[in-house]
Amino acid sequence: MEKAPTEAEFHAKFKAFYTLQDNEATRLKQVRLWRRLVLEDFARQQQQQQRSQGADAAGPSVLSLDSFPLFTNAKLDRALDAAGRKAVADDLVASGHGQWHDAGKTLYVFVKTPSEWASIIYDFVQQNGLGGTIYTVYELHSGDLTRNTPIQGIEPALCIQALEILENQNKAEVYPSDESLDETGVKFI
């Protein structure tokens, strides 16, 4: 079985990577490669942020379809066409790795999907016996509670999605807030 080039090689050297492919099977693979590139890039950004700025200043991971740098490759003189960008964004949303912020223009990117986070959060709750008390989303991402755990720094929007999944599984109750995402409350069962 021939080994395929990596997504990095496609991005660096292959002009055809920047045209959304007509052939459906080929397009599927192309979009998946872009997804990997986007997620790797955001994962790297997050790591850098955590390292340099500390846990509190975890800015949201937002991708702007117009200006995301990886969509353009000056050396190849190519830029992913509009249809391609839309396809990549739609794929991120469909796979649980994205949520529209400004529909069609900007997108929250979730390196881990909400269902992955739901498992992580629930495991953490189980291990530390946190059931029964009401916590806010703010406490989850920036409180002492989760210091030095992966949950520290999680995006509020992402966190809420994960909590809603747990609610559907009857593992938590969510209390939405009128004021801000951070004020949303959750009680684990």
Partner: protein, 421 residues
Amino acid sequence: MEQLVPAQLTSAGRAALEEDETQVATATRVSLCDRNKKLLHECKEGMLAVTTHHVWWWTPPQPGRNPDEAHAMKLPLQRILKAEAHSSLFRREPRIDLFFASDPSAPLLRFVFRDNKCAEVFERLQTSLARKNWEKPKQVVKRESGFNTQFAGVGGVMRRQQQEREQTANLTTEAFSDLKQLLDSASEIVKLADRFSSAISQNQAKAQAAAAAAAGGSSETVERKQEDDFFALLNDMGIANPATKRACGSRYHEELARELADFLAKHLKRHSATGAIALTDLYCLVNRARGTELISPNDLYQACILMKPLGLNFVLKTFESGVSVLQSISLNDDTVSSRFVELLRDQNDPFTARINAVSVASAFSLSLQLALEQLKTAEKLGYLCRDETAQGVDFYLNLFEHVQIYDEEAPPVPPPVPPSH
């Protein structure tokens, strides 16, 4: 019926005429009967053709049936003593009776017509019998045998060439001034064209050998290009027996289809390296070859549609964009696509190896339209992928082919932070 001899059909099911033989009349749905008006075995309603040398009778081969069932026979005209035509008013079965030397009193063979060609066929038959083309000498231009001082030396060579030119000019004037004589001369004209084309190809071979030996001058290439064009023109003049509407009636499109199949079997390789030709190009080629009795685009299209049901070697294919091409059945999309992949693999780096309609059209002698269609087909089959540029579409090897995708992907491991550049 001993006078009839078994005969050969071409691969497309038409009469395989001899070198000098020219077709002068055809009819459909003709039955053969003996002197007692009894139908000869399996000789009901076939194709009839009168030529300068024979009367042909055959049943066109049907696809899917035993080829041995389709039989063809021909009757040398020189065996016929005389012919009579009879048309009865009451039964619509006009016929031609043929008399032979073995029994001058009674017709041994009768052709019974179901279409309305009897009179025309009879007239042409009489003409052919009178002309006795089988007795004519074969050469047109007689060479002087023996040495004659008139033709010695450079002056002599020039005189001889002058004489040949005059003979050729006379031949063409004679031929074109009288249509009847044209029928006679048709086969001779074709032979003349063949002679020219073989002379030119000999010249070409010599010129190529000389160019290979010497450094090769640019004036030679211009000359050679002109010769190439002339050579192509002559080759295309090879059809002396066009299937015409008058001759074939309701079987017109079928006969046309067979004629096209024969023509393409000979000439397609020169016009297309991928064994496919767009209908628009075929229309021009075929009409240029026919010269007169041109066929309409619709006739061409109808004939092409019939190719598959008739079991001929070509099939009409229509692309999504509406472009129609005729392609040889031995050709398939995977073969063509593999050739494109070969072209790409010849370039060094798979990431930058690319082809487009222009490069493919020139590499395989295709029209741009056909080249683009075949490239898109290769893309559809997954051999190629595309890069849309301001100048058009480029096609690359489909490097995406072996990329593995999984339903559940492991979360990405961020690559180590690269050193700042």
